[in-house]
Structures are given as C-alpha cells and as structure tokens.
Symmetry: C2
C-alpha cells in the first residue's frame, strides 16, 4: 500500500492511498479556503444513558449538489475546487468539513455540554463517481480494508480515541447526500453503547466458555450450513440467525481477531472477496442498488477489549422488492426489531441469486 499525507488550504488533513506508487498532478484543493468553525459538543441523555452530539455548523452541509459539481471527484476546474486533486491514486481520506466530532473541539460554556472530542473522516472509495464499492477489484476492496485499518491505527495513536466506526450509508432512500461512492469514519473518545454492549456480551461468552465468541459462531454456522452465503476458508458471509434486517448479512474472518490490522494479507484478500460477493448479491437480489448501511465493527482501542469479534454488518433496507424497512415503535421505542422473514429463508434467496456481475 502506498500512501501520502497532505494539508488542505483550510487546514484539514488529506491522505491519498494506492495500490501503485502515487502521483499528484494538481494543487491540493478544498471547496473553500475558509476553515469551518466547528465547535461540536456532547450532552448526556440521562434516561438512555448515552451521549448525544450537537454540531450546529452541520446544517449548511452539502446536500445533493447538481451533477456538474461533485466535491468527491478530482478537481477538473480549478475555479470550482473539490475535495480531491488530480493524479494517480485509488482511495482518499480527509477530515469531514462538517464534523460531528473534532479532536480539538473547544470546551463549551455552561454545564449542560462537554466538548465533542473525536474525529469525523470521509473515505472516498474510487475516483469514479458512478461506480459502487462492489465495482472495485478484489485488490481494491482489500486496499480499502487496509485503509480502514490504517485510519484506526492513526486515530488510536492520538491517545484520546476509544472506538473507531467505519461505515457506508448508501442510497438516497436513507439520506445519502452525495452519490460518489464513499464512506465515513466516526471516532469517539468513549466507548459508544453498541460497542460497549458487544464488548460486555463477548467478554461474558469468553469467560463462560473459554472460547472467543467468533470461534463458536463460525463453527455453529458452518455446521448448520443454512445461513452461510459464501465460505472462502479464511472468511465467510452469513445471514446471522438473529438478523434484525430481513437480508442482514455479516462478513467475518474465520479466525477470531479484533481489529482489521490483525488480518494477514491472505485473510484480508479473502475477507475482501467475500465482502464484495455479499454486496453484489444484495444488489442482484431485486435488480436494484440495494440501499444499505454497512458498519465495520472493531474492538474498542486504548482500553482492554480482548475477545471482541471483528466483523462487518450489512443492513439492507429493502425487506421485499420496493418495500423499505422502517424503524418504528418497537425498534426505536423499545430497542427490539421485528423481522418478517426467517434468516434461513433470506439466506436461501441470497444464495440463489444469479447475475452477480450485472451492472446496476
């Protein structure tokens, strides 16, 4: 992996990544040279016991710009600078111009709020605006896994970060404001509720059985052979038996590791192949680009977190052709999901999908 760091005119950081040596053939741009005055704060929700982030400067963020202006494409007209330069590179990561969290967030006045310490980064998957993550080659998807690992390592090195969440939200149905294939990274200065719960549950499993949760899960799914979509030996995809979304799909390494950086080159490539295969299946299922949320779950950092299972969770938002799943009363009011289809049936449908390579 090749990489190079830059600073944008407005002070934000940019890193370019490539499978080949990098070459940059234009200035390093920013849509505006004016630094964003981001002062994110957090407040404590006393009944849910979780932090809420407030970022008033985000209201002005880019919202479905016209096709002639794509801030995630390389700058073609220096009069209308984007976030990225021209040159030879595969992926790019830069500080979000409208961050919900910031490493240098100032301490606010008053006793309701605290500084919104953390980081928000944008990860551009490709120079091509029209493609999908699944249109990348296996090697490029593997590079993305390396990039997520590198960002996690860098954010961990700040010393103040406790948890790093890499994710992709895809589809206008779920609020995506820019169609260029990209994801985001949120890094928290504390362990958020979902990660805290996973850590608690898997530590309990390890204490009770002496085995990592992931080892037992992978073995059980291989034995049941009902919900596995693809098994490449070193990595596999599965509709978990407790899927909350109808076509929810998890990508797991076969060996229990906690961070992407722990994967060997061979494991990472297998993980990339299985991941790409799962994305293609979801699109081919109904012949449309499946709207989804994809989250990469890694162990909390700068803290004791052994036994946490590295995995990717894909939440496809269609529960049937043309029918969205919405989070309503029971999901939001009680924290429990209702699912119309058994995971075994959903897995069978996803395994039976044809024409994985159709362009959508």
């Amino acid at each position: 992996m090749f990489q190079q760091d830059f600073t944008k005119p407005d002070g934000r950081k940019l890193t370019l990544y490539g499978l080949q040596p990098l070459e940059v053939t234009s200035e390093i741009p920013s849509p505006s040279n004016e630094p964003v005055d981001a002062r994110p704060v957090m407040r404590w929700h006393p009944l849910r016991g979780e932090w809420v982030m407030y970022a008033a400067h985000r209201l002005g963020r880019t919202f479905l710009p016209p096709p002639e202006y794509n801030p995630l494409a390389p700058t073609s007209d220096p009069e209308h600078p984007t976030e990225l330069p021209r040159g030879n590179y595969d992926l790019a990561v830069f500080d979000n111009r409208f961050p919900s969290l910031k490493l240098t967030a100032p301490e606010p006045e008053g006793d309701l709020s605290r500084a919104g310490v953390g980081a928000c980064e944008v990860v551009v998957f490709s120079q091509s605006a029209a493609g999908r993550l699944s249109d990348l080659s296996d090697e490029q998807v593997s590079l993305l896994l390396s990039v997520w690992a590198d960002r996690t390592t860098r954010l961990t090195a700040s010393g103040v970060i406790k948890s790093v969440l890499c994710f992709e939200n895809r589809g206008v149905e779920v609020g995506v404001t820019l169609h260029h294939p990209h994801g985001q990274i949120y890094a928290y200065d504390h362990i958020p509720p979902v990660q805290a719960r996973m850590l608690e549950m898997t530590a309990k499993h390890q204490a009770e059985t002496g085995r990592p949760w992931l080892t037992d899960f992978v073995q059980a799914e291989r034995e049941a052979a009902l919900r596995v979509l693809r098994d490449d030996g070193e990595a596999l995809s599965v509709v978990p038996p407790f899927a909350r979304y109808t076509y929810e799909t998890w990508i797991l390494p076969a060996r229990p590791v906690s961070l992407l950086s722990e994967l060997t080159d061979s494991e990472r490539l297998a993980f990339a192949r299985v991941f790409k295969d799962a994305l293609l299946r979801l699109d081919a299922l109904f012949g449309v680009r499946m709207p989804y949320l994809m989250t990469v779950h890694q162990a909390p950092v700068n803290t004791e977190s052994s036994g946490f299972p590295l995995h990717i969770e894909l939440y496809p938002y269609l529960r049937a052709a043309g029918r969205m799943k919405y989070l309503a009363g029971t999901e939001q009011g009680a924290g429990e999901f209702a699912n119309d289809k058994f995971p075994e049936v959903a897995a069978q449908e996803l395994r039976a999908v044809q024409n994985l390579e159709a362009k959508l």
Copy 2:
C-alpha cells in the same frame, strides 16, 4: 369512559370506547373470517443482548390499500367488511391481525427460537379516516390516554407481560401502511432494552439524590425556561436538553408518576391539552403533517419499577423543511445520535409557531 368488549368472527378481541354511552348498529366484522395462523418467535441477539422478533405471517399484511377500502373505518358495505362496526363510539382497540407477538404463541421447535409471547394491538383514534390525532378534542385526547391506561392494566392482568409500549407512527415517509389515524400497542413478556436502561438510570438517580428523576427534570426545565413549549401546571411539553431528533418534544406530568393510570382526571386533561398543543406545533412548524414516531413510556409492570417517569416522546422526522433525519452510521452502528440544532433553538422555533389551528 364507556367501554364494551366483543369477539370478532376470526376470534380476535375488540373493545369500543366512548365519552358517551356506546351503541353498535351492525355486526362485529373482520376483513376475513379465517383466523390468522400467527406463530411469532423470538431469537436472542448474542452481541447486542436483545431479542429479535420473527413473524413470517406478517409479510402478507395490508399495504397502502386503495382509498375505497379502509380496514380501520366502520364497515359500510357488508360485502367488504373492515375491522370495525358502525355505531356510536370514539375509539376502538383490537388484536392486530398480523401480530409480532401473541399471548398464546406456541413453543417452536429447535433451540434457536422461543415463543414470541406478548401482544400486539391496534388503536383506532377516530371514526374519521382523514383527521389527525391533534384534530380530536381535548376530551377525546384525554379519552385516548384513558384507553392506553386501560389496555396497560388489562395486559398487566395477564400476568405474563412486563412492559407495554403504546405508540403512533405517522407518515408514509416512515412506512405507515394505513393513513386512518391509529396507533399500536406492543406488550412484551420481558423488559426491552430501552425500558431496562431507563429503569436503571432513573433508579440510580433516585438512589443518589433521594428524588424521582422527573421531579428534578421538571424543576430544572422550569428554572431554565429555555426549552419549555407549554406549561399547564399539571403537565408540560419540552424539547429536552439532550434531544436526539431536532424537534424532539417530550410531554410530562408535573408530578412524578409511573403509569398513565395514576394520573388524576385533572392531570390527564392537562396532559392531553399539552400533548395536543405539541402535535399542532409540529405540524404548523413547516406547514405540513410532520412525520413522526410517538412513544408512550410507562414503567415496566409485574416487576419492581419505582421511580420510572411516565412521559411521551415525540420524534419528528424532519430536521428542516423538506429534509428528513435518517438513522445512519453513528445512530445504528454506535447507538449515538448526531443533531444539527441545539434544543434551545428548536424550542424557540416551536414556541414561535403561529396558526396552530390551521387544517393540514
């Protein structure tokens, strides 16, 4: 409050409620006389530590029927029976024909699942298909509060229910399949994650301070006088300082009670007035019927739960005119919300709203 129980041709229960003596002038109908073979189950999510409900029979449920067929309106043509009879009544409650939970759910085979024990009811707010909850009179909204209290008491009496969630999901934007004003009730045979967390947090507050959480919260909001929308003495509405949705609004009694059934007649009417006022403000804010989720939080039942604060949470899905809030990476992947606007600003906008009575 007047009420009367009936049994539908397919065996489901129906209760009619009214402010005046009831009169039923047609047969008690059901869209089909065929009992639905509902066998809901639950499975345990080992990483999130929560139950997931599976209800395969729900896939065939009613989805945006044409206007000429409204299953929640009184039956006008006996050839096309709906869920409700003709007659004089204000509200109706019946067993959901497509339940995610059922009191008599059979024990499933295999060791992955357990019976989906609980209840799912439909609450029809009015005989009029076109109105809103906020188009009801104060007395009718107060009747709805009494009906929710009655359902909670009845479900509690089953002995197997631990938590009752009354809610309304409104707007096609959030998956509503029937436009006739109605809500739902989910009753669980365990304490779901959100209620468990609220119970834990408020019990801790009570143990540390000797005071109910609600007492301190109401006092602090009255003193701050920044986020209260309307204060009727016995009940008030407020954008909480830790709002997760931009225009999130809570309705609270001024006296700390745990269940709707504990409200006095006067408190219930004040609560209804403030509740209706909040709903009207949300619609008037952008001059559209605000899509929202409304959840009624009551203490767990059949279990120790002192100090739990009865309140209603309104989650409006518009974060600005024409702009929906979506739950994306941080909300779903980490369990933490990002909000673009400070609650103090949102409260100011909601207080300044004019034309509350405009028909929308």
